[in-house]
């Protein structure tokens, strides 16, 4: 085989990926940054400056929404981990054969269904005329209709629901790879259930926990549908604010600055998560 032909093949393979990454990922983000540091001084006239970022820090509504989105996302991630871990453990360690496959597939099915449909389902359940309100009235627990929608708890329920599968699936994979004899050895050497969990199971599951948490945090941070539909008009989610600046206010400069701030936050959290657990992006994401 001539090395010329193989070089040609190599460049033919290199072309699509470079085209994809440069044109659709790198340049747009550079462009986003450039727009975010442009200040409008007249019709179609701009100058470079940090005014958009200054506006973000000066206007409490902006940075409070930003902080609120971050904190709620962290909360949703923690909640998802706490709720999802026992499920993943149950599937990985306490079931076998067909039961295991079935439970795993049951976990996967909501993941295949559009987020819009899932959120719609929660609206039907939670709203004033919804199933839960009516159920509670029928049981005589409340006297009139109750509105469960349009509050932070509803957002939380929706966020956890939307992302729990991204927690359960990597956890099941890592817990599956934990040899039962390691758990048995832990007990055999005198460990209590708590000690075995803390010293053997959780350290082993750490890669899954990290990749699950990263994905869930990003999904929550970047979520638009769930907070808008379940949280209502005043949901104060940062992506909603970006949408408003871009589409309603047509203030692309400020919107770009918001977008860039969100990107920095999400990258920072991914970076810290990987650093703290001593893992690389390739092994964490490449596995999913």
């Amino acid at each position: 085989m001539s090395s010329d032909a193989s070089r040609l093949g190599f460049y033919l393979l290199l072309a699509p990926i470079l085209l994809w990454l440069v044109v659709l990922i790198i340049l747009p983000h550079v462009g986003l940054f450039v727009v975010s540091i442009s200040e409008k001084i007249g019709p179609r006239e701009y100058e470079i400056g940090m005014g958009n970022y200054a506006a973000f820090f000066q206007e409490p509504l902006f940075w409070r929404t930003f902080a609120r989105t971050a904190i709620m996302s962290i909360l949703a991630t923690a909640l998802t981990l706490i709720l999802g871990f026992p499920i993943a453990y149950y599937i990985a360690k306490l079931t076998q054969g067909r039961t295991k496959t079935t439970l795993f597939l049951m976990c996967m099915i909501p993941f295949w269904v559009s987020e819009l449909v899932r959120t719609f389902g929660w609206m039907i359940l939670l709203r004033e005329t919804g199933v839960i309100s009516n159920g509670l009235q029928a049981l005589g627990l409340v006297s009139g209709p109750v509105e469960f929608l349009y509050n932070d708890a509803a957002i939380m329920v929706g966020l956890v629901y939307t992302s729990i599968l991204f927690m359960v699936v990597p956890l099941v994979t890592t817990l599956d790879s934990l040899d039962n004899s390691l758990i048995e050895a832990g007990y055999d050497l005198g460990g209590s259930s708590t000690a075995v969990m803390r010293e053997i199971v959780i350290p082993h599951a750490m890669p899954g926990i990290v990749s699950g948490c990263i994905v869930v945090f990003m999904l929550s941070l970047g979520n638009y549908l769930t907070p808008i539909l379940l949280g209502g008009k005043d949901s104060l989610w940062f992506t909603g604010m970006i949408y408003t600046q871009f589409i309603t206010r047509f203030n692309w400069e400020l919107g770009s600055a918001f977008g860039f701030l969100l990107l920095i936050l999400s990258s920072l959290v991914v970076f810290l998560g990987l650093k703290l657990s001593g893992q690389s992006l390739s092994e964490t994401m490449g596995r999913s």
């Binding site: 994809w20 986003l32 559009s114 719609f120």
Partner: protein
């Protein structure tokens, strides 16, 4: 906490009850969406007014079923066009990427690999606005320079396709690379040894081996494209794909026709999802 280590009976039952509660939580929203598609009422909520199929087949207002609702049908068509384009592009580029990362060693490979993973950790909304900003500025520049119109670079289906393609390709690359890694290169060498050309060996030996992964990633790409919302929202023009159309309807106040569409979506996605899993697990 494994079957061979004895645990108190009470703890075991509590654990099981939690698992059951979890799966109810998981199934509940999808179930109510499905059930209310058959409610003979103009609102998707209680009380139950009796069973009807009008939200699927009805022709008279207000009971216009999915199969006669123009806007929904058009949105499904738009989504299908977008999904096919995205899937075709993503699988093609993904296959090239798989060969590049599995078969070639070059300087900067690790860096390029990380770059390839980046779309996974960029929030969809940001992907959307960055492409929107970039394409608009190119369009502005070109229009200023030439005086012609460049509608393809303005919000619309082309941008939607590019936006979805920009992150779905990463998934396709990962799935196809994983399978190519399992391929025994000596099979290809045997084909060369038996007189096949380089391309002939890849076409007759390697690509058939990759087929399950290619099919699976095509199906997953179609699904992801169909249900994508965040990126699409920022790039959409006058033709709305299904999720955007449904979102608009939902904001105006929903009727059970949305439940009917959702139920169809649930059924189709579940079926496609299972097919892709079967394809991936069967041949490995």
């Amino acid at each position: 906490m494994i079957p061979t280590v004895p645990q108190p009976v009470f703890a075991k039952w509590c654990y099981r009850a939690y698992v059951v509660a979890f799966f109810i939580y998981l199934a509940l929203p999808l179930t109510v969406v499905g059930v209310f598609a058959f409610n003979n009422s103009v609102f998707p909520s209680l009380p139950w007014e009796g069973f009807t199929l009008a939200w699927f087949f009805g022709t008279e207002a207000p009971y216009i079923g999915v199969f006669h609702e123009r806007s929904i049908l058009r949105a499904i068509g738009t989504s299908a066009v977008v999904a096919l384009w995205v899937s075709g592009l993503a699988v093609t580029v993904g296959t090239c990427n798989a060969f590049l990362f599995v078969r070639h060693e070059f300087r900067g490979k690790a860096f390029l690999y990380i770059l390839m993973l980046l779309p996974l950790i960029i929030p969809g909304v940001i992907l959307g606005i960055s492409i929107l900003v970039f394409s608009s500025s190119i369009a502005n520049t070109l229009e200023d320079a030439t005086g012609l119109w460049f509608d393809g670079l303005r919000p619309g289906l082309i941008l939607v396709i590019l936006g979805q393609f920009s992150f779905i390709t990463t998934f396709a690359t990962l799935v196809i690379s994983a399978r190519l890694q399992k391929f025994d290169p000596s099979l290809e060498e045997a084909a060369l040894n038996l007189g096949a050309s380089q391309w002939g060996a890849i076409r007759q030996i390697t690509l058939p081996f990759l087929l399950p992964a290619i099919v699976a990633s095509a199906v997953v790409s179609i699904l992801m494209s169909f249900e994508n919302f965040n990126t699409t929202l920022m790039l959409v023009g006058s033709d709305s794909p299904l999720t955007i159309a449904m979102f608009d309807k939902l904001k105006q106040g929903s009727t059970p026709v949305l439940n009917a569409v959702s139920l169809l979506l649930i059924a189709v996605s579940a079926a496609l999802g299972l097919i892709s899993l079967l394809f991936q697990s069967n041949k490995q």
